[in-house]
């Protein structure tokens, strides 16, 4: 992973914005799906797929690749859009999301997209799969060769299975495991701290023998430094608690839990796309 230059950051910002536009287009075409989480995670997915991950879209089964486990499968619009931009499949295919026969299932399914590391949707089971991958690497003495990343939501920390995984990873000191929690503070029924409080979240992970880093999920430089630090921690697994804004990039959607599980309608999509095309009114849209 190389130094993150200002030029590269500008490129990442443009890519993330394009990915957000695709997310809106996919969701309005599908007529169902989740909006807030995918928009909020667009910067993190972009940074990983275009700067951090050791991967090869033309050779997706490359044995030495890093593994990225997506635990909260419902944010897959951002996953699919990022993979399409990275070259895993044609961007035109994005509009097939959730339609009969598509590879872009409503929640990711390996049978349709075999290069995915896992199928997901039911919450709380991604981290334990990532722990299993890291344990396998430990047995094979490959835990210095690659990293196992797990992207997960804050809401799925309600699940007991998540904490079983956190406990086991702490016990086994799996060094190449890096979890990234999308700390956007919302879940379907409301704000996480109203539904079932997670705070003090960092202290909880620390108590389970993890190295904890808290960072903005929208600051490429800071996120990159967090990953560099996580990779350098040798004696224990690391969690990056990434503070994100749900719905990020579309002002009307931001920080509103009602956008967790619904797609924009045509009018809302038009408004959202205009906002993204003009970077929130900073520039003039070619489409106006």
């Amino acid at each position: 992973m190389a130094f993150l230059s200002d030029k590269k950051i500008k490129e990442l910002e443009i890519t993330a914005n394009d990915i957000r536009k695709s997310i809106i287009e996919m969701l309005v075409e599908a007529g169902s799906g989740h909006t807030a989480g995918p928009l909020g995670m667009a910067d993190i997915f972009t940074l990983f797929y275009f700067h951090i991950l050791k991967h090869d879209p033309k050779n997706p089964f490359w044995e030495e690749r890093d593994r990225l486990v997506l635990s909260n499968g419902h944010i897959c619009p951002v996953f699919y859009a990022t993979m399409a931009y990275a070259g895993y499949f044609p961007k035109e295919e994005l509009k097939t999301l959730r339609k009969l026969g598509t590879r872009l299932q409503g929640h990711p399914h390996r049978e349709y997209m075999p290069w995915l590391e896992n199928s997901s949707g039911p919450l709380g089971a991604g981290l334990s799969q990532a722990v299993g991958m890291a344990l396998a690497d430990k047995i094979d003495k490959k835990d210095k060769d690659r990293f196992i990343y797990c992207f997960m939501s804050d809401g799925e920390l309600d699940e007991g299975n998540s904490w079983e995984a956190i406990m086991l990873a702490g016990k086994n000191k799996v060094r190449n495991l890096i979890a990234v929690v999308d700390r956007n503070n919302i879940q379907i029924d409301g704000f996480t701290e109203d539904i079932i409080p997670l705070e003090p979240l960092a202290d909880k992970w620390r108590a389970f023998n993890w190295h904890v880093i808290e960072v903005s999920g929208h600051d490429f430089m800071a996120l990159n430094e967090a990953v560099v630090e996580a990779q350098a921690v040798y004696e224990k697994p690391t969690v990056i608690i990434a503070h994100t804004i749900p719905g990020k990039g579309v002002h009307e959607f931001e920080r509103d839990f009602r956008w967790h599980g619904k797609p924009p309608n045509k009018e809302e999509a038009k408004m959202a796309l205009n906002e993204l095309r003009t970077l929130g009114g900073k520039i003039k849209s070619e489409h106006q």
Binding site: A125, A136, A165
Partner: protein, 336 residues
Amino acid sequence: MLNPDLKLNPKIFNDDVAQAPIRKGFGEGLVLAGDQDKNVVALCADLTESTQMIFFKEKFPERFVEIGVAEQNLVTVASGMAAMGKIPFCSSYAMFSPGRNWEQIRTTIAYNDRPVKIIGSHAGISVGPDGGTHQALEDIALMRVVPNMEVISPCDSIEAKKATQAITKTGKPAYLRLAREKTPIVTTEETPFTLGKAEVYWMPDVGIPQVGIIVTGGLMHRALLAAKELQDQEEPQRIKTKVMNLSCIKPIDVKAIVALAKECKAIVTVEEHQVAGGMGSVVAEVLSQNFPVPMEFVGVQDKFGQSGTPDELIEHYGMGKNSIKEAVRKVLKRKI
């Protein structure tokens, strides 16, 4: 008579027939599988000795993962290990795995199509004194409805050993059902075992069988005793039967089951499981579509278990030798 081609235990009908827990065969088979394939790993949820995984742990400590009392983690961690090329065996009591972690098994193992082997020990009512909470009577139903999952319920410890080695090589998810108690040894090392193939263990000395008895799991010995006693009766009470071992419930040997039904025209199924959704239901699904015949189901009739000795419970819930004989007589009367 016992099927002479299968080299079954010749002492099967002796009072001093050798006995061993079915789970013991798994413990031995897993060590052999570990010898044969370095990718075999084992995970356990705080029951290493009673599920007989301890032999693997002692021989291959670097390939053993203690998960703790966390069955959801047990199977999902195993899925992750399988994603990296491992062949994970995860063991617990059947009541907890697949009892507690069904959705994790469905999504992260079967839906993911990862070759994880779920070992449900202490299945059935014969767990005995621990009582109903620990008596898994629904596990076959839970696992057989999941696509990609293979389901095997061996009849004795030798077959369990062979089944353990066989499922190592399939590249598919599998559920292996084991029992705690000592069970009479029905087969020998020479008895053939092929995944997906049902075998006829008992047949009439002469003449055509009147009833086919299909058995899965540890009740096989009782079924063979019942078949022998029915045959040994004087005419006109004598009933000729065939007894089939259906240890592999999925994939199901449709051809063998249909052939048995065509020959006998009446079927009794025998299993230590709820009648609803179990092996008998599988057989009924096969026959109703291919060759419907009258059927009787020996198993637990929509009830929970309770404390007691294994033998007491088998009798109390109507799965003993006499219950099997009664079911045979009943189905015979229903034959057209």
